[in-house]
């Protein structure tokens, strides 16, 4: 059984160089994907809005590397990375964002709603908090059917102030469901700094209200994310209940399309750019003996793959007009 990034999902032993390169590669694909989306948006080819996650890639890649087939994932409008980390095809993801017939959701979802049930990506949700109870349901079903599956939900720190967060974690806690709640604490909810909306020092400590462990980790260290996620996933799978992970990270771009992110204190972005998860990991790998050429060629091939995927998506037609009347009901 392979994990979502093609590497073994177990916690045991050292990661092989191939595994490590697979993690890097997946982060790079997501980065290039999002850079493209940003360009497409600027060119007016993406409708509405788009929420990018450059700088946060280590969280979904690290966590999804701890999952296996049958596990499920839900995420937010800022979920391109998570959906791709589960293995959704790049071209269909582009297609959805461009509103094309080849899109993951046939053009009905859009940038905020990438969904690919084939790989366990149960949806990207645009109403803050809405997906946390849905992950609880997926975890409940796993227990009910004894499938051994685990449900993961990604969400921002700002989302922990909404009612659905509370209800979902409480229910998962009291039922000891196989779920892992991953808070991507990127320090801002829209334009509001964390401390202005949340009267606790860490999100992790909120776990105590729900009878589950809470762990804060470096969300820009993909291996630490993966290792912690493996523990939480194992805990869930073995029936010991849910975990709340708080991965500290940073979105290097604005909240959405139109946000110049002027609310950041001076120097903050620069500091975090130095801790860019991809830069950091490339350094780690280079220190571990991967030569610069190998790194460069992975970069190049990821970039090419993304470009080719975009080309395929761009070549896909618009959805047929009549399709808008389909999919409301199954019967």
């Amino acid at each position: 059984m392979t994990s979502r990034t093609g590497i073994a999902p177990g916690a045991d032993g050292e990661l092989s160089i191939d595994d490590r390169l697979a993690l890097l590669r997946r982060m790079l694909e997501i980065r290039f994907f999002e850079d493209e989306v940003q360009r497409l948006f600027t060119k007016g080819l993406v409708r509405g809005t788009t929420h990018l996650g450059q700088g946060q890639e280590a969280v979904p890649v690290g966590v999804c590397a701890a999952l296996r087939d049958g596990d499920t994932m839900t995420c937010t409008y800022r979920g391109h990375g998570a959906v791709l980390a589960m293995g959704a095809p790049l071209d269909e993801a582009f297609g959805e964002i461009l509103g094309r017939a080849n899109g993951l959701c046939r053009g009905k979802g859009g940038s905020m709603h990438l969904t690919d049930l084939r790989v366990g990506a149960l949806g990207s949700y645009a109403i803050v908090g809405a997906h946390l109870p849905i992950t609880v349901g997926a975890a409940l079903a796993a227990r009910y059917t004894k499938s051994g599956a685990v449900g993961v939900a990604f969400f921002g720190e700002g989302s922990t102030n909404i009612g659905a967060f509370h209800e979902a974690l409480n229910l998962a806690g009291i039922w000891r469901l196989p779920a892992v709640f991953v808070c991507e604490n990127n320090l801002y909810g829209e334009y509001s700094p964390y401390a202005s909306t949340t009267p606790v020092d860490t999100i992790a400590e909120r776990a105590a209200s729900y009878g589950m462990p809470g762990v804060r980790i470096d969300g820009n260290d993909v291996e630490q994310v993966r290792a912690t996620a493996i523990e939480a996933v194992e805990r869930a799978r073995s029936g010991d209940g849910p975990t709340l992970l708080e991965a500290m990270t940073y979105r290097q771009v604005g909240h959405s399309r139109s946000d110049p992110a002027k609310y950041r204190p001076e120097g903050e972005l620069e500091q975090w750019l130095e801790r860019d998860p991809i830069v950091v990991y490339e350094r780690v790998l280079s220190e571990a003996g991967v030569d610069a050429d190998a790194l460069a060629s992975i970069r190049a091939s990821a970039e090419e793959e993304v470009a080719a995927a975009l080309e395929r998506a761009a070549a896909s037609p618009e959805p047929e007009l009549g399709s808008r009347l389909e999919d409301v009901y199954a019967s």
């Binding site: 209800e167 409301v328 199954a330």
Partner: protein, 326 residues
């Protein structure tokens, strides 16, 4: 068939569905150990065990979300939200998530979720426990809405709702829990989602009603029959999808329409029905279509105020007389 109560019919329907299909399970606040606040789930936990029948914390958002997630994984959850009025605390889950999931994902999944809610007046429960909640969801494509008014329909429609591949809001009327009636025999045609019932034939006027209002309309028809007014009574049973054909076919014969509903007018199914009829068959009516309804107010507690709000057989009869005499 022996007569059962409306409530027993629901319990029976739930039990039969649980027995028939392992992927069906039932959960909500106090539905398991206590058998539900209206006792409509009594005995199910004992019979099916506590993995199939579960009590939850007071967390309606979590309940609805959990139903969605479980349905995505192939189960057929039955979620209870207790009073229909409580749909307000999980409205996003119902209106934005459950209703739209299939559409927004381009049809990647069906969501065979049944949401049970207790509807209606006049129990003296006050403004927040007496509403008919179905009108809140009429403008939200993606949900099916059923409103059974008899034990037979309560049974057939809970079975149909659970079997249906789409989300169904199943409204149980609190005022009908104890009415009695026969279930349908195996050989009979069952009530299906989307099919109205022709309760009574009559040539002078088509009356459309559901749930408690159906029964009050029946009373009215009896009085009117004595006056020589023959009412054709239709119980819609399902509000979405609407069986407009059945209504139009009847009006074709009667050329008069009276709708009776247990709610105010704005945004109601009665107003929607009238507009739909007029759009489809403008010249079919010989008199103004009337909607007998609750006042444009919340529902008061005091007995006399609540009774005055709710249409009774006299008000219904009066409206029918006016329509026929037009």
């Amino acid at each position: 068939m022996i007569a059962t109560t409306y409530k027993q019919a629901i319990t029976q329907g739930l039990a039969d569905a649980l027995a028939e299909d392992d992927s069906v399970f039932l959960f909500g606040e106090d539905v398991a150990a206590a058998g539900g606040v209206f006792k409509a789930t009594e005995g199910l936990r004992e019979r099916f065990g506590d993995t199939r029948v579960l009590d939850t914390p007071i967390s309606e958002q979590a309940i609805v979300g959990a139903a969605i997630g479980a349905a995505l994984m192939g189960l057929r959850p039955i979620a209870e939200i207790m009073f229909a009025d409580f749909a307000g605390v999980c409205f996003d889950g119902l209106a934005n998530q459950l209703a739209k999931y299939r559409y927004m994902t381009g049809g990647q999944a069906s969501l065979p979720v049944t949401v049970r809610m207790a509807n209606g007046s006049p129990g003296g429960f006050g403004a927040q426990h007496s509403q008919s909640g179905e009108n809140w969801f009429l403008n939200i494509p993606g949900l099916k809405i059923v409103v059974p008014g008899t034990p037979a329909d309560a049974y057939d429609l809970i079975r149909a709702a659970i079997r249906d591949p789409d989300p169904v809001l199943y409204y149980e009327h609190k005022g009908l829990y104890n009415i009695k009636g026969p279930l349908r025999a195996a050989a009979d045609a069952r009530a299906e989602i989307g099919c109205a019932e022709l309760v009574r034939q009559g040539g002078h006027v088509t009356v459309v009603a559901t749930q408690l209002m159906r029964h009050r309309a029946v009373e009215a028809t009896q009085v009117l029959a004595g006056e020589g007014i023959e009412v054709e009574l239709i119980d819609l049973r399902t509000l979405v999808p609407l069986d407009l054909d059945a209504v139009l076919a009847s009006i074709e014969r009667t050329n008069h329409l009276v709708v009776v509903q247990e709610s105010s007018f704005g945004g109601s199914w009665g107003a929607t029905l009238v507009a739909a009829v007029l759009e489809q068959a403008f010249e079919i009516l010989d008199a103004p279509p009337l909607v007998v309804r609750g006042d444009e107010t919340p529902i008061a507690y005091a007995a006399n105020l609540e009774s005055a709000w709710l249409p009774d057989s006299q008000r219904i009869a009066e409206a029918i007389r006016r329509t026929v005499a037009y």
